[in-house]
């Protein structure tokens, strides 16, 4: 059982990381969610083997499963859930402003860069990013 959970956790982390590396905001959101689930499952498995429900008098103490990781996982699930909801709201807001969900560049960074290099380089790199985002869409 633990092996299965550990495997599931690994898959969640791997897919989550891959999603995070995309330039589309919606995919980043999903990636963050997947990674959060992976971490929560890991927290749940940290208590070791499952057993009887830990209520005194229902089973011998040695058979109990560890209740603490379950409590911790519950707490962290609620927190991850809340923050993800906030992120979704922010994404909605971003979509309302730009009508697009590509993560934008920092304008100020561009400005600073443009002071030291020619504007053409900046323009070219912007062009390249647009193409990259378009490529990702096609995938």
């Amino acid at each position: 059982m633990s092996v299965l959970l550990a495997f599931g956790c690994a898959v969640l982390f791997a897919t989550g990381t891959w999603m995070l590396l995309q330039r589309r905001l919606s995919r980043i959101l999903i990636g963050v969610g997947l990674m959060g689930h992976g971490a929560n499952i890991l927290l749940l498995t940290s208590g070791g083997e499952g057993g009887e429900s830990p209520i005194i008098g229902t089973a011998p103490a040695a058979d109990f499963s560890d209740p603490l990781p379950q409590a911790l996982a519950l707490t962290s699930i609620v927190i991850t859930f809340g923050v993800t909801a906030f992120l979704l709201a922010l994404g909605y807001r971003s979509w309302k402003i730009t009508h697009d969900d590509v993560v934008e560049d920092d304008v100020e960074d561009r400005f600073i860069a443009s002071r030291w290099s020619s504007d053409q380089i900046v323009e070219e790199s912007r062009e390249a990013e647009r193409e990259q985002a378009a490529d990702e869409d096609r995938l």
């Binding site: 609620v78 909801a85 709201a89 909605y92 807001r93 979509w95 309302k96 402003i97 009508h99």
Partner: protein, 175 residues
């Protein structure tokens, strides 16, 4: 937020109401609320608790949203969402705080047991007010979420000016 829409929530809706949905929700809504209250009180020793109870109420509100839109959710409770949220948070934080006044440590709890005519033997722990507080916080939050994002008219980009959020979220922006 004009008062005419408050009286007749259906006026603004483009699609016709679905009779089966609306009728079944009329039956379901109070039963879910009862279940939520049960979860809230059973929470100390059995599955349930304030968070679950609050979420159940949230689910019931979601059903009302499906049938009547944001307006139906808004008119469910008389109290504004932020008052609910604040009261719940206050109750929960105060439950943690009160034991300090009696020289106990924070979050310390106790219980009393007594007999009631219908319920027979009842055990009430001081964790109950905390749970009630949590439930109210969750309800308040869900109401606010529906108020901020539940308005169908704001779903189309460009339906309103892009810079400002929709009307309901303006509850939080003072004029």
């Amino acid at each position: 937020m004009t008062d005419s829409t408050r009286d007749e929530p259906d006026v603004q809706r483009a699609d016709p109401r679905m009779l089966i949905l609306d009728t079944s929700i009329k039956v379901l809504f109070p039963s879910i609320l009862v279940l939520a209250v049960y979860f809230l009180f059973a929470g100390h020793n059995r599955p349930g608790g304030g968070f679950v109870g609050g979420l159940m109420v949230g689910a019931a509100l979601a059903l009302r949203y499906v049938s009547g839109g944001a307006e139906a959710v808004r008119t469910t409770f008389r109290l504004p969402a932020h008052v609910l949220l604040g009261t719940g948070l206050f109750i929960a934080a105060a439950t943690a705080f009160v034991p300090l006044l009696f020289g106990e440590s924070i979050l310390e709890h106790g219980d009393i047991e007594f007999d009631l005519p219908v319920f027979h033997h009842v055990k009430v722990t001081s964790a109950l007010p905390f749970d009630v507080g949590v439930a109210i916080v969750v309800i308040g939050l869900i109401l606010m979420a529906f108020a901020a994002f539940g308005d169908e008219r704001s779903d189309q980009p460009g339906a309103e000016d892009d810079g400002s959020d929709n009307q309901r979220a303006k509850l939080w922006v003072r004029r």
